[in-house]
């Protein structure tokens, strides 16, 4: 169920401002790909073009091609809603639905997509919570509101919510930036498990994290403020952190820039 993502010459705009330019890359199935780079370099924007979430911002649009195996996500007749069901996403700040219980949060995606059979839902909720390493902590209080959990638990709840709809790709936008070190570790362990079943793309500010969890790393940067962000290079994580091809990557990694 894990799929390959191929981006070809992706440009993303906010109104007339071009946020990213000419991004082309391939993300292999069952890998974790980390996107790193200085603030404002467009890595989060690029992530949001993969599940077509970029376009929900008024005035925002995307040019170029994003292929999920053989299907162009921006092709005619492709529904953004269906794309987002296929590609799950976890956000920077944990954002469980405040009006829903833990159970309802995880079941939300399935329910709202028309699945009503309570046995199917029960199984899916348990499977997803186990998948997100949260089951043992919350199984006694599934009916309690999700907002009552700790930050790290909330983020794992959001991961459970995302994987409940059985996506083929999981996008993570700085999923640990609002969490303490212990919760961060829990999520990083989880990623290693999850890549057995999903293609994972993670945006992170934390280079140690990228080095720890990812198989491949892409480095984004921009020439100057106001210029669009570009993909400088993408390679195996080992190569990027030990012997990058580009001087700019090396500068960034070694802390001389950004």
């Amino acid at each position: 169920m894990s799929k390959r993502i191929v981006a070809e010459d992706v440009n993303a705009f906010y109104g007339s401002f071009r946020a990213i330019a000419g991004v082309s890359l391939t993300i292999e199935p069952n890998t974790v790909t980390a996107l790193i780079g200085p603030s404002g370099c467009g890595k989060s924007t690029f992530l949001r073009t993969i599940n077509r979430l970029h376009e929900v911002i008024p005035g925002a649009r995307v040019e170029g091609k994003v292929m999920l195996d053989s299907e162009d996500l921006y092709g005619a007749g492709v529904d953004a809603v269906a794309v987002r069901r296929t590609i799950g996403m976890v956000f920077q700040r944990p954002n469980p639905f405040p009006t829903m219980s833990i159970y309802d949060n995880v079941a939300a995606g399935l329910r709202l997509n028309g699945i009503k059979n309570s046995k199917v839902l029960d199984e899916a909720v348990e499977r997803s919570l186990r998948g997100a390493n949260l089951w043992n902590e919350v199984k006694e209080r599934l009916a309690k509101p999700g907002a009552g959990l700790s930050g790290g638990q909330q983020q794992r709840l959001c991961i459970a919510r995302a994987i409940a709809v059985e996506p083929q790709v999981l996008l993570m936008d700085e999923p640990c930036s609002a969490l303490d070190p212990i919760s961060t570790l829990a999520i990083e362990d989880l990623m290693t498990d999850l890549k057995q079943r999903y293609t994972i793309v993670i945006v992170t500010h934390n280079m140690q994290q990228a080095a720890r969890v990812s198989d491949r790393t892409g480095f984004f940067s921009l020439e100057a403020t106001g210029e669009p962000g570009r993909l400088i290079e993408i390679d195996t994580t080992e190569k990027i952190f030990s012997n990058p091809s580009e001087k700019r990557t090396e500068d960034y990694i070694t802390g001389r820039f950004g």
């Binding site: 649009r61 170029g64 299907e71 492709v78 529904d79 269906a82």
Partner: protein, 329 residues
């Protein structure tokens, strides 16, 4: 290749990623748009309809609609005008504002800067309760409690401040259901709205500004003058004008408290002189009105609407321009 938020209708045969759900989106969008258009169309239709009623009525007026003080539209020839009504509407509302304004601002300052923290919110609710009392109850209270209990006060004003025209009781003057009492009731009614909006505006002044002033050794009053008022001046003006708008349109309390007449006198404590407002005049005249009289009242209602609309629009402009958020009114 461009992908924008508005894509063409999806192809249902598109397989895995083909869209099947956009039907729901289109139905829902149509429903909400329909609701918006319905309200828009209805209000425009009503406005147009009222104009077609009002304009011929004004044309049949044998005198000038804007300068005549009398209201006898069903006489032959028809004589009616809004001069006395507009005068009374403005006078009562302005007095109400002059009385309520400083008090409301004081209350707002009390809640934002003087009250102990735990008391501030409950006291805010308490003042808001004034807005919950129905206007007919204010009218009843004003007529049967405030007016009779204010005789002494009004007599006192006339005895000691009668040299000011406002408090001149004249030869045959009687204290009682005067313009002043009606205005005082109006003042109580608009107090909560002015207080509530001013309070919101004062609370929006960053605490850091207050602390900066206090750190310079300012007293509380100096801190307010230095850090609070300069930031909220235009917002408070807007709040006052929204209160004015409320007072202009109030009907029942005025109709009950004031002894109605078509005068344009500034003798506000003389109940023999009394007064009238556009709103109270509609409430007291519509029942006996014949077709022309009804249309004349519609014309006066439109004038009231235009006045309140202008005041409210100006108020909203001032409040939003000051960058403050006015509470939904």
């Amino acid at each position: 290749m461009t992908a924008s938020t508005e894509r063409p209708p999806p192809d249902l045969s598109g397989g895995g990623l083909g869209a099947t759900r956009r039907v729901g989106d289109r139905v829902f969008a149509a429903l909400t748009t329909g609701a918006g258009v319905l309200v828009l169309a209805l209000i425009v239709a009503i406005g147009a309809f009222l104009l077609t009623k009002a304009i011929p009525a004004v044309q049949k007026d044998s005198t000038n609609f804007f300068t005549t003080k009398l209201w006898q539209p069903d006489n032959d020839p028809s004589v009616f005008g809004i001069a006395a009504l507009v005068f009374g509407t403005l006078l009562s509302s302005i007095i109400a504002l002059v009385v309520a304004g400083p008090i409301a601002i004081g209350i707002a300052l009390y809640i934002s800067d003087y009250a102990p923290r735990r008391l501030a919110t409950p006291i805010g609710y308490l003042v808001d309760l004034l807005a919950a009392v129905p206007s007919v109850v204010y009218g009843l209270w004003g007529l049967l409690f405030l007016a009779p209990h204010s005789d002494k006060f009004q007599q006192f004003l006339s005895d000691h401040f009668g040299f000011i025209p406002l408090f001149d009781l004249g030869k045959n003057g009687v204290v009682g259901r005067s313009m002043m009492i009606a205005s005082l009731v109006l003042a109580i009614m608009i107090l909560p709205i002015v207080a509530a909006i001013s309070r919101e505006i004062f609370l929006q002044v960053p605490q850091a500004n207050r602390e900066a002033a206090l750190a310079l050794g300012a007293t509380k009053l100096e801190m307010i003058r230095l850090a609070v008022l300069p930031y909220s001046k235009s917002g408070v003006v807007g709040a006052l004008m929204l209160g004015l708008g409320r007072a202009l349109g109030e009907t029942i309390a005025v109709a009950l408290v004031l002894s109605l007449s078509y005068s344009t006198s500034f003798h506000i404590i003389d109940a023999n002189v009394g007064g009238n407002t556009i709103a109270a005049n509609i409430a007291s005249q519509y029942q006996a009105a014949e077709p022309l009289g009804q249309r004349a009242l519609i014309a006066s209602g439109l004038v009231l609407f235009v006045i309140t609309f202008a005041v409210n629009a100006l108020a909203r402009y001032v409040v939003t321009r000051s960058g403050k958020r006015a509470a939904a009114v």
